[in-house]
Subunit: 438 residues, 2 copies
């Protein structure tokens, strides 16, 4: 989201202003989403409140009496030069405007374009090299098929995002030991094991732009090599010898599997709600991000609040990551995505874009989704129709907006840490994750 | 094996005697196998040495000069009444007999018929009840499908052999804490997870006399619920908080997966050797038995030798268990076996009975095995032909003899413990495992 600004206090003598510099798609609803709150403003955007009062988001709604209204409310000087352009973009103030109320969300530094995860990789380069060496050596086995299958995935240009986060969070809290390297490798192994099992469950044909291992060595090898990597992950954790870290990661392993089963149970059911879907991705994706970010801080004797902050950063970053992934599945380029566009559709997977399109669709459109996703009646035109419906209902944009919302929470979570290069790098990761769609 | 007696010292004034009270099939080779050693005795049984000099078993061969020859060697009084019958059974001494040499293996107590695992269950009844309660509660999840799938297996009358062993070994070394209950439940979960994944890998239709879970909930659910149980197993271990136990069990998890992949790589290859096959079952089956028996002792500050003894007991019992299972697959009754007779044949699985039959078979017979197991050309008569070949070459009996051999090692391993009710119960388990075939 970068910067969301909402000025709605007439005492300022200004029109209501909704600004999201992550345009296009900039509108009241978007800005409000990004600010994690709802503001009643029926004329500008009748849909905003309705959307924000989804059951899931009730706790994010800010009532009028909770807001600070001050007649002397001032527009920050840094924003003033932008106002004429914003006013021009939004046109004149409506004639019969209700008394508005408003809030200002944190004004952040302009996004540093292209920061991505390079700063993070550079920052922990030495550690990352050791993690990579450890990963390669621990994927080894005298049983030839194991390193073959494992390395197919491990060496296929994955971003190592999760182990990078483990290293960064350890640095953020000033950990000076050696354990984070093994824990980072363990996290990557848990992730790789999940990929191997997922591909079997989803019957996927591609993974990271290459054939999925199950297409080359069979489902059996994928199941078993996944089990092997999971075992190795636990062995590495045990070597580090931290029971709190073992607790965090073994809990994550359980929760991830729970999330995958939840997804399986929800599969091919277009009545799945946003709530239910979020519960799935909190478990299947966000739990490992959260654990990856928490284990470093758990190794040091720092205040519990720092550990909780890293966990929250990871969990919300993970949700954002998954939502962008879901959006990309209907719009990304295959090379970038590492899997085929439309895979989710072919697998009958209900993701957030589909949930939006079903909810906003006509009865006839719902029939299409039912046929396609529940009955699996797919032909050459299905993907095109699906994308058309998703675009018509703003479902992709909306999903990306949701992703930015969780990205914002992830950023906020790090606020209790003083500025530092690991903190900056971790904030950049949020941008990287939420801007993958561009 | 129960009792194997080999008297071959002519100074005793007796014929060579080979006695195995586990008749039928009693012969020199059998008795020697059971005694874990080879004795050169070309006239009686030309095959014995040859067989025992398989690469794998070289370390078990006892050369003549290593044996204690005493002219005053005495037949134990308790055996004397048996000798006339034995002599009658074996017929007269061969005319031109080479100078024999011999050894006496431990004469054990007569097997207590029907002892089975009841004594063990009774001994740890209170703990076992807590294990069962824990298993049920930890297989629970708000994700409905998880307890459904898990309980289908967990409540299907499994013998709980592995957790029973964990409880027994903890009692054997005088452990007085609470950790063994959680560890026993963790061991059972690791086992159940393996079954779930195995069924997917093997495409099995039955498990424990019921439909395999994958037939009811699909392969996906089996993979994922297996992952969930593995996660819960680790969570329980972490709760116990013993890093040595975590080390033992996480290593076992890795080795088990390695064994399964080894088996997969060896599948449908009738050139698999006994060596290779033993490496597979040491990993896929014996590793968990070994870990199950080792974790109890690892919880207490007893001499390392006791821990190693329990580990050895478990590992060898596990090998025996698997070999009997392999034999039963070609001869057990389905209800007893909990799977269909001939499943291994249908799945192209190379087990020890087949390895024997291939090695001893004619070129034509090898063609049959190649067609059936490698090419998967199976018809209604295949199982009958296979069983006929196995019986003709004594492959089932031989496999069971091997099982008794490992059973004997398991018994020997416990020798350093003074007599106690847990020890007796654990010895009974060896009988139970090796006599399942009767």
């Amino acid at each position: 989201m970068a910067k969301a600004v909402v000025f709605q206090n007439p005492a300022c003598g200004e029109e209501p202003v909704f600004a999201d510099h992550d345009a296009p798609g900039q509108n009241a609803k978007r800005a409000l989403d990004d600010a994690h709150m709802a503001v009643e403003h029926h004329i500008r955007d009748a849909g905003a409140v309705e959307q924000r009062t989804d059951k899931r988001q009730q706790n994010h709604i800010v009532a009028a009496n909770q807001l600070l209204h001050r007649h002397t409310f001032r527009v920050p000087a840094s924003i003033l030069p932008l106002l004429p352009a914003l006013r021009a973009a939004y046109g004149p103030r409506p004639a019969k405007m209700e008394r508005p109320l408003g809030v200002v969300v944190p004004l952040e530094e302009p996004r540093r374009e292209g920061a991505g995860i390079q700063a993070l990789s550079d920052l922990v380069a030495a550690d990352l090299e050791r993690v990579n060496a450890l990963i390669l050596s621990r994927a080894g086995s005298e049983v030839q098929m194991i390193p073959e299958v494992a390395n197919h995935l491990i060496s296929s240009g994955g971003k190592r995002l999760r182990p990078l986060l483990t290293l960064a969070a350890a640095k953020l809290v000033g950990y000076g030991g050696e354990g984070h390297v093994r824990l980072a490798a363990a996290v990557e192994f848990m992730h790789t094991a999940t990929l191997l099992h997922d591909d079997v469950v989803d019957e996927s044909e591609m993974r990271r732009g290459k054939l999925a291992p199950r297409m080359m060595w069979g489902n059996q090898a994928s199941v078993l090599v996944g089990d092997f990597l999971l075992g190795q992950a636990f062995k590495m954790m045990v070597e580090v010898g931290s029971l709190p870290c073992l607790d965090i990661l073994s809990t994550a392993a359980t929760v991830i599997a729970e999330g995958e089963v939840m997804q399986l149970a929800a599969a091919k059911n277009i009545a799945t709600t946003e709530d239910e879907y979020l519960a799935v991705i909190r478990a299947k994706t966000a739990a490992l991000f959260a654990a990856a970010c928490e284990v470093g801080p758990a190794l040091v004797q720092r205040p519990k609040a720092e550990q909780a902050a890293c966990r929250s950063y990871g969990a919300n970053l993970g949700i954002a990551f998954q939502l962008v992934d879901d959006a990309l599945d209907y719009g990304g380029r295959e090379a970038k995505l590492g899997k085929k566009v439309g895979d989710d559709l072919r697998e009958g997977k209900i993701t957030l874009p589909v949930i939006f399109a079903v909810r906003r669709g006509t009865p006839g459109e719902r029939e299409f989704w039912k046929r396609t996703l529940e009955a699996g009646e797919i032909d050459d035109s299905s993907l095109e129709i699906a994308i058309d419906l998703l675009v018509r209902h703003g479902a992709i944009d909306e999903t990306l907006a949701r992703a930015r919302h969780y990205g914002a929470i992830a950023r906020d979570a790090l606020a209790l840490f003083p500025d530092s290069s690991p903190k900056t790098a971790m904030l950049d990761v949020v941008d990287f994750v939420t801007s993958r769609a561009h």
